[in-house]
């Protein structure tokens, strides 16, 4: 009844181009932003920040990044973990080499460095396509993890081979290190998510995004109508790696604090982000958030139910989690291959007709 365009008059071209054409959508979006920025920081506690909100925000950035590459540009990548590791180690080197530099810029520059590495590993995509490319990106995954393990310069010759985030503050609020408060960690990540999601949304509906989609749908045809595959594919790799690099930097500095590269950024991490993109919905920014929320919340939920509620041993709970995640992925692909985003779209279509079905 309320959820439709009628009555919402557009008098300027700018109005016609807005991201949320329906008023209720717009209001909902503002409300969510307001709650996220103004309410949540005051009520959040350590458990919610560390177990749910911070990983959710950080992994949404990674999922958006991967979604740009796979969902918008159609280049399947299994190297997400490796690129996140680049972001993390770049951030660590920057934080320790330039203690004066603001953590905000450290994270941004780490994203930039990851973008360069991403372009380098994206070069083969000009020759290799489909599954061959997916497997080729595994080269990045294994090589980068090996590199950060073997070259002591990257972890400042520390004896354990781990990297530890030193304490850094933004406006006198600590955001990294063990003494950072839940609210400041959360807000720091939220700022990045907000800016990056906004950029991603606008990139994907502009010229750049359209050329990505043209390459995804059929690269030869796109080439014929004048889309430069070199520029398009490499820009997708660059933007995607930039996002993933920032996610990696935040994952290390804000969320984990101490990282052992094979554990935190192994192949499982790559698959986790990939699942987020698939379950959320390929080619959808909202889907990236939905997928990240789903895969962050579900293990927490399952653990609470099985270990906390039923009192089963943790190893059985962990195995069951694998079974359930795997089963759910297959289930989702069968029921709705376009993911949660498509369900959301269908729900909105239904809502626009409600309460009159025609």
């Amino acid at each position: 009844m309320f959820y439709r365009e009628s009555g919402d008059f557009k008098t300027k071209y700018v109005d016609d181009n807005q991201t949320f054409p329906i008023k209720l959508d717009r209001l909902g979006y503002y409300a969510i932003i307001a709650i996220a920025f103004l309410v949540v920081p005051f009520v959040i506690n350590d458990y919610w920040a560390n177990a749910v909100m911070v990983p959710f925000l950080i992994l949404s950035i990674a999922a958006i990044g991967l979604n740009i590459l796979i969902g918008y540009c159609g280049q399947v990548s299994l190297g997400t973990g490796g690129f996140m590791a680049v972001g993390a180690y770049a951030c660590y080197k920057l934080m320790t080499s330039f203690p004066e530099m603001s953590i905000f810029f450290c994270v941004l520059i780490s994203g930039g460095i990851t973008a360069l590495v991403g372009v380098l590993f994206g070069l083969p995509s000009l020759r290799i396509k489909g599954f061959y490319l997916a497997v080729a990106t595994l080269a990045a995954q294994f090589f980068l993890v090996w590199l950060f393990n073997k070259v002591p310069w990257f972890y400042n010759y520390s004896a354990s081979g781990q990297i530890n985030a030193p304490e850094r503050a933004v406006f006198d609020f600590l955001v990294t290190g063990p003494n950072a408060t839940a609210a400041s960690k959360y807000l720091f990540c939220l700022v990045f998510v907000f800016i990056l999601a906004w950029i991603a949304r606008n990139l994907t509906r502009g010229r750049v995004g359209r050329s990505w989609m043209a390459i995804r749908d059929m690269d030869i045809a796109a080439e014929i109508i004048g889309v430069n595959p070199l520029k398009t594919k490499l820009s997708a790799f660059a933007v995607s790696s930039f996002f993933i690099g920032i996610a990696g930097a935040l994952f290390f500095s804000v969320y984990l604090g101490a990282v052992e590269v094979g554990e935190a950024f192994g192949i499982t991490q790559s698959f986790l982000v990939l699942f987020m993109v698939i379950i959320g919905g390929l080619g959808s920014i909202f889907g990236s958030f939905a997928g990240a929320a789903f895969l962050v919340l579900m293990p927490v939920f399952l653990k609470n139910v099985m270990v906390g509620g039923l009192g089963w041993p943790t190893d059985i709970a962990a195995h069951l989690e694998f079974v359930i995640v795997g089963g759910l992925i297959v289930f989702f692909l069968i029921v709705e291959p376009h993911g949660l985003a498509q369900l959301w779209r269908l729900a909105k279509e239904k809502l626009r007709l409600w309460p009159f079905p025609h």
């Binding site: 497997v135 080729a136 090996w146 089963w312 089963g327």
Partner: protein, 333 residues
């Protein structure tokens, strides 16, 4: 002959043997890819699952004992009997065929006509599912698998080759694991059998027809669903063989499922659609990574085996995007 040369020769021989082991896993991938266009990521986990089931049946474990104990507070773990290896293998094969049926019935049937990437994701989901399911069923501890395959150094070969080195040169003959030799023989037999099967039997011809063109195969009366069950059963059988070989070599444990990741560069190198490609690719990768580790590894910190295969495959692909033996990729607008 100088010791250095002989060492290099030994490294190459061991590389060939390792390559055969990779090829065993890669074969399963190729079979499924050819027949259904599905890139089956779960192949490695299938090998792990097959090996676990084999050990479980052999030692008479109670399936899901951990889960049963956790729910009912009981203390069951073994039935108290052991099953001879041959019967256990046959039973495990039965389980893998049953698995093929279930996959076809509950997963593939619903995913007909989806994009390849969706099918690929489905097999990753399947891999996760089986990994958790296998652990739940048989427990996550490391098991030893013994079906009577000889292992250890081959004394005969060492004795035969010890005379090749210079007197006092520190060369004691080639060291090659007996198990690797058995694996090589098994791989050869497997490839020959599979080739004969697909060339000369009715089912084999049907398999090739489906591989060439799904619709044309359907129109001459070949049932796609039956073919898929058969292909997944054969892949399950190959997984069982690979699982037995790898399991006897390094124990049945989670890392066994990671051999799938080892098989991927083999596939890229050989081409996804070629059975001989899987073998040749495996041999090249096996020798390449052993030689690289032997020559360059010490200079750059070692453990290069994790990524060298991928880099090698990547380089090959830049020059031949469809792999060495893959069908030429023709694109039409």
């Amino acid at each position: 002959m100088s010791a250095d040369f002989l060492y290099t020769l030994e490294v190459i021989l061991n590389g060939l043997m390792a390559g055969v082991m990779y090829s065993l896993v890669a074969l399963g991938f190729v079979l499924i890819y050819k027949a259904s266009g599905i890139f089956n990521y779960a192949q490695g986990v299938m090998a792990l699952f097959a090996a676990m089931t084999l050990v479980g049946i052999q030692t008479g474990q109670v399936p899901f004992s951990h889960l049963i104990n956790a729910i009912f507070g009981t203390e069951v773990h073994h039935f108290g009997w052991t099953v001879p290896a041959v019967f256990a293998i046959i039973l495990t094969l039965g389980v893998m065929i049953l698995f093929a049926f279930i996959v076809e019935r509950y997963v593939l049937k619903h995913l007909v006509n989806q994009e390849p990437i969706i099918l690929f994701m489905a097999t990753i989901g399947l891999a996760y599912f089986m990994e958790g399911f296998g652990d739940l069923m048989w427990g996550a501890d490391i098991k030893t698998l013994d079906v009577g395959i000889p292992s250890g150094a081959s004394v005969w070969l060492e004795d035969a080759t010890i005379g090749w080195g210079v007197e006092g040169g520190g060369f004691y003959g080639f060291y090659i694991d007996k198990l690797d030799m058995v694996a090589a023989v098994v791989a050869i037999v497997l490839v020959v059998t599979l080739t004969l099967f697909s060339q000369y039997t009715t089912t084999g011809r049907a398999l090739r027809a489906v591989a060439d063109d799904h619709q044309a195969a359907l129109s001459v009366g070949i049932s796609l669903r039956t073919i898929w069950v058969i292909v997944w059963s054969i892949a399950g059988f190959v997984a069982l063989v690979a699982g037995v070989m790898w399991g006897s070599k390094s124990g049945v444990q989670f890392s066994l499922s990671l051999i799938a990741l080892k098989a991927l560069p083999v596939l890229m190198l050989g081409g996804f659609t070629s059975i001989p490609g899987a073998i040749v690719g495996g041999l090249i990768i096996g020798v390449g990574e052993k030689l690289f580790e032997f020559w360059v590894g010490p200079l750059i910190g070692g453990a290069t085996e994790n990524w060298f295969a991928y880099m090698l495959a990547l380089l090959f692909l830049v020059f031949r995007p469809q792999g060495l033996f893959g069908e030429k990729i023709i694109e039409r607008v």
